[in-house]
């Protein structure tokens, strides 16, 4: 078993909803509501869910771009919220980097590639210009670009190439963890495979840990070792990728898988029964009582709307659902 690099414990992030002249707080949007997970060294955790499930807020909390309402983040066993500013600057931020979804907006259009990739090095290290230049070339080579590309601007590249530049920038400081927020969803189909393969190669080469956020289940299955399924600010099912996709337990996971599996048009007699959920995800401002999924669940029972389901461990997998209680 690999060592745990980062652990999130009962993360909560509530945003206040204010009203009136005095901006009184009238309610809370519970974007992330009690989320726990671990990311192992050299492994990938996939975070799946639909928009509004709280995936990106979780990622932002790890990147310390959002202050949590409560909960703790442990990095190599140490509480990140107790780091001093200088500790954060030397021990945490350089080692946790990110690649954003949209390579058209994640780069300054007025900077050349060499400056984009060099920026983390200039800010965080005291290397000489010559050292930085050779490091930039090395990084470009690792992501499949060449020395001829350094003097160009982002607009001169295609989406896939830009995403490669973003990956090079994220790797500049030799991070331990890279947060990948929808790393391929803005790219074309034939380019996605190139980037996913590149990310996997880099992981193997540098023993990187990834937190992959995606709404596409197949992407997550391909990239991840373990998977967490999020619904309305909570993780409803968690497990090793193989097991979870072979034997999904939570009705929401099953519906998601059913919506993403390739079903060919079959002869009418044996039409495959797809699980179609009714309704939409409720507002996190006012989540349903009991199990948050009960308003859309095809297996809803009496107690689902009253009792919050406990966490049930089944082997390496766990699930929050009354079906298994």
């Amino acid at each position: 078993m690999a060592e745990i690099l980062l652990e999130g414990r009962d993360l909560k992030k509530y945003y206040p909803v204010t009203k009136g002249l005095l901006q009184r707080t009238v309610g809370w949007v519970r974007a992330v509501d009690g989320v726990s997970f671990t990311i192992e060294q050299g492994k990938t955790l996939g975070l799946v869910g639909e928009s509004g499930a709280g995936k990106t807020t979780t990622a932002k909390a790890i990147l310390l771009l959002e202050q949590l309402t409560s909960g703790s983040i442990l990095f190599e066993g140490k509480e990140v919220y107790q780091f001093s500013r200088s500790q954060l600057k030397t021990e945490y931020r350089p080692r946790v980097q990110s690649v954003q979804q949209n390579p058209w907006s994640s780069m300054d259009p007025r900077m050349r590639v060499r400056d984009i990739i060099a920026e983390p090095l200039v800010v965080n290290t005291k290397q000489s210009k010559k050292q930085i230049r050779s490091r930039v070339l090395e990084l470009l080579d690792q992501v499949g670009l060449g020395p001829a590309d350094v003097d160009h601007y982002p607009h001169e590249f295609s989406g896939g190439q830009r995403q490669r530049i973003a990956v090079a920038r994220a790797l500049a400081l030799n991070p331990s963890l890279v947060v990948l927020d929808e790393p391929v969803s803005a790219l074309d189909v034939s380019i996605r495979a190139q980037i996913m393969n590149l990310l996997k190669d880099l992981q193997a080469q540098y023993n990187l840990s990834y937190l992959v956020i995606a709404h596409n289940l197949a992407t997550v299955r391909y990239m991840s070792h373990s998977v967490a399924i999020m619904y309305l600010g909570q993780i409803v099912e968690y497990g090793e990728a193989e097991e979870l996709f072979e034997r999904p337990l939570h009705p929401y996971t099953r519906a998601l898988i059913s919506a993403s599996v390739l079903t060919l048009p079959s002869d009418d007699e044996q039409e495959i029964q797809q699980i179609i959920l009714s309704g939409e995800m409720p507002s996190p401002l006012n989540p349903p009582p009991g199990c948050r999924f009960h308003s859309r669940c095809p297996h809803v029972m009496d107690k689902c709307s009253r009792v919050v389901p406990e966490l049930i461990v089944m082997g390496k997998q766990w699930v929050k659902c009354h079906l298994y209680g």
Partner: protein, 322 residues
Amino acid sequence: MSKIILQVEGLRTYFFTRRGVVKAVDGVSFYVHEGETFGIVGESGCGKTVTGLSILRLLPEPAGKIVGGKIILDGTDLLELSKNEMREYRGSMISMILQDPMTSLNPVYTIGDQIAESVRLHQGVRDEMVKEKVISALRLLQIPSPETILGEYPFQMSGGMRQRVVGAISMSCYPRLLIADEPTTALDATIQAQYLALFKEVQRETNVAIIFITHDFGVVASICHRVGVMYAGKIVETATTRELFNNPKHPYTTALINSVPRLDQKDDRLYSIEGQPPSLIDLPPGCRFSPRCSLAREYCHEQEPPEVEISDGHTVSCWRRD
């Protein structure tokens, strides 16, 4: 088999820009039956949206021009209609759903007004009748409590509901042909499944022919009866959805299918197509896919392959199809 409602023959749409002629659609032919969904699948820039806009004759002028081909809808060549006649066709005979409902709906009009607009324009009905038709369009798309929705604005609705409203507008006059350009790309997975199931029902009820433009093979598999795969302005392969997945013949089709991770099987490594699609201003000689094709021979780089029907309804443009 039901009758062919739309026949596109050798359609060529070019954009005349300062940097040169962009051959966005360069000799595209296909047909759609009544009550059938024909998928056009391809990557961005392959010309699938321009094909849709060409059928509606809604190209950005003066740069975009249809320079050749025929678009025959129920016996009439749309390219020979005057501008006014074409206006009559849009909305009533052909309609379109775009990708992003937030930009295709007007934020300052109510849902009722926006659906009523096309009903008034094309069906020549007034007042109470309009309201009735609007409500029946909302019902067709299974929008809950249509009477209250009428007075709401787009911002009050979720993305999935908005896209249903867009569907209601486009179906309000019961068109013969619906062009859906990536209608589910902006939706979440479970909402997308809802929407696709809904569209199958709408189609069964109205017998509308649908051209479904997408880049997502999962969507193709679940809704399309037949598919055309587009690459750099041409349809390189056409077949029934089943045949295309089970027996793809064009190397581009095969590569695309293999480069998409599957949920029902564990892949250790995805197949990836090297390089990028060519610029439509400066197309490679010979087969357009040849610079990226692993099977390419010398002659592939020199001569363009003809479209050959290899079995009933399965056509492919490739020298190395065997």
